[in-house]
Symmetry: C2
Amino acid sequence: MPDAAVPIAGNRFLLVGGASLVGSATAAELLDHGAAEVVLFDNFAFGSEEAVAHLRDHPRLRLVRGDVMRLPDLLRAAEGAAGALLLAAYMTLSMDRDPWGGLDVNIRGVQNALEACRANRVRKAVFASSNAVYGYGPGVSGELVEPTPFHSQGAPPAAILYGASKIIGEQLCRDYGRKHGLHHVTLRYSTVYGERQHYRAANALYIIETIDRVRRGLAPQVLGDGSETKHFVYVGDLARANRMAFESAATGVAVNCSGPEPITTLELVRLVTELAGGGPAPEFVGEEPGKVRLTSGGPFRIAHEEAERAIGWRPEVGMREGLRRLIAWRDGNEGRAGA
Amino acid sequence: MPDAAVPIAGNRFLLVGGASLVGSATAAELLDHGAAEVVLFDNFAFGSEEAVAHLRDHPRLRLVRGDVMRLPDLLRAAEGAAGALLLAAYMTLSMDRDPWGGLDVNIRGVQNALEACRANRVRKAVFASSNAVYGYGPGVSGELVEPTPFHSQGAPPAAILYGASKIIGEQLCRDYGRKHGLHHVTLRYSTVYGERQHYRAANALYIIETIDRVRRGLAPQVLGDGSETKHFVYVGDLARANRMAFESAATGVAVNCSGPEPITTLELVRLVTELAGGGPAPEFVGEEPGKVRLTSGGPFRIAHEEAERAIGWRPEVGMREGLRRLIAWRDGNEGRAGA
C-alpha cells in the first residue's frame, strides 16, 4: 500500500463539489502550495460561477461540469489525481426541501466518488463530514469529542437525515479503506463561514442575515434568548485542514475541525453588528413555525484537539478576525456588483 | 386527517418485502384477523418461494413480483391498500457484501414505498426498523430505551451502514407524516427467530448453526467466552406487533419490539443443544478474521415497555418455547424435503 502522505506540490487533486465556499478556498490553498493541477468538479446546482470567478483563469485550475450521480463523469475527472476532496452535499435546509436529491448526493454521490478513486488508484480521499454526526436535540451538550454518539431524539427529520447521511459517507470511506486500501481522512467540519459565504447553511444564516439587517438599518434578530451555542470554523482554516489531511501520514481517522471557541447567538449577533459598523440593539424573536431549527441540550464545544494529534492542524482565525474578513469581502463584492 | 387506527378485518394490506420470515408470519396473522386481501410484494432476491409456500393458495393472498427500486411497481401494488408494512431490507451481512444494493433498498426503497403510500392515500405505514439504531461497540450496554443515541465507535462499517440506513428510514416516515399526513408506526425489531428461519441475520445464525452442528453430532461453537448478550424476539410475537401497530391509534411513534428477556450466547447455545435432543458440550472458539461481528460494551436489554404503552403489545413467547417451535418446524421441513 502506498504511503498515506500525499504531498501537494507536483500532484493533481480533484475537488468534488468544488465550486463552493470550502472548495474555492481549498483550491487556492492547494495551488499556492504547488499543486500541478486542481480540478473543480461541480454540477453548479449549489455551486456557483461567482464562487470560483476569482480562480477561473488560473493556469493550473480546471473546472469540470459533472454530476456525482453519474459515475462516468467522476471516473473521468479523477484520472491522474493523487488526492480527492469529497465536498458535494446537500445540507439540512436543502435536505428538508428535497430529501430525494439530498440522499442521492450525500450517499450515492459519495459512493460514486469513492468508486472513482478506487478505479483510478487515487491515493487518498478526504471526506467533508460534519459535526451533525453528533446529532441535535436535548442529548447534545458539553464537550463533543469524536466518539460521541449520534443523538436524534427531538430533532427535525431533515437534520437527522443530514447527520445520518454523513455517518454513512464516513463509513463508506472506512469500507473502501478496508476492502480496497484507499487511504482516507474524515474531517468533521463545524459550521463554515468566511469569504464567499452562501445562504444555504442553517447556522451560518445568522451571520449573513445580521449583516443584511444592520446594512439596511434594521435591528438584528435573535431567536429565543440568544443563549444557544454555535461553534463556527473559518473557511481559510478549513482549507488548511484539507491540505494537511492530504499531506499527513494519517489514514482511517475521523476528526473534528472547529474554530478556536464556540459563541452564543447573542454574542455572535452583537459582534457582527459591531464589525458591520454598529446598529440598533438586537431584537428577540420567537420561532418561525415550519422552519428547521438546529438545537442542543445546552452549551457545547466541538473539541478539535484530536485533529492536532492526527494531522497537526488547529484553528488559527477567531470569530472577530474571520467575521471582519467576511464583512470586508461582502462590502467589496457588493460594491463591484453595483458598479 | 383520517383516524390512525386501521382495523384489519375488511381491509387490504401491502407487505413490502413480504416473502420473508416476518412477512409470511404477518400475512398469516392479518389473514386470520379477516384482512380482505394481503399483497406480498417481493423481488425474491432474499425472499423465497418456500417462505410463502404454505400461504400461496390462500384465496385472499396475492403474490406480486416487484422491486422497491421501481416506484411504478410499488404504485400499482399499493392501490387500494389501507396499510403497508415496510419490511424490504438488506441486513448487516448482505450490506457488507453489497453496500450499493443495500443502501438502495434500505433508503431509496423505503422512500419509494412511502411515496407509493402517499400517492395511493394509504392510511398507515408500519416501518420495520431495528435495534441497530442504537448501534454497536463499547458504547452499547444496559437498558436500551427509545431515546438511546446511535453508537458507532468501534463497530464494523457494514453494521453502521445498516443502523444508519434504518435511522434514515425512520426519519423518512416522520417526514412523510409531517409533510403528507401519512400515519406511521416504527417498530424497532430485535433479532427475529422462528419458523422459516433463514441464514441472513448475523445474530440469528447462532441458533441455526447450533442446530446444524448438534444434528451432525458436532460440538456447538461459542465465540469468545459466551458472555455476550443477545436479545431475540419470536417471529409470531412480531407478526402480532405489526398487526397491533395498524390497529392502534398510535402514529408518529418508534418503539422497541424485543422478546421477554435477553440471553447470553452460552445460555443460548446450551438451550438450543438441549432442545435439539442433546449433544456435546459447547466448544469455545476465537473470532474468524474478516467476519462481521456485532458487539456491545456489556450486558444489555432492549426495553419493550414503550411498545405496550403505544400499541398495547408485549412479547408472549420466551426463548424455550420459540426455539422449540423453530426446531420442530426445521425437523418437519427437513423430513419433507428428504421425502
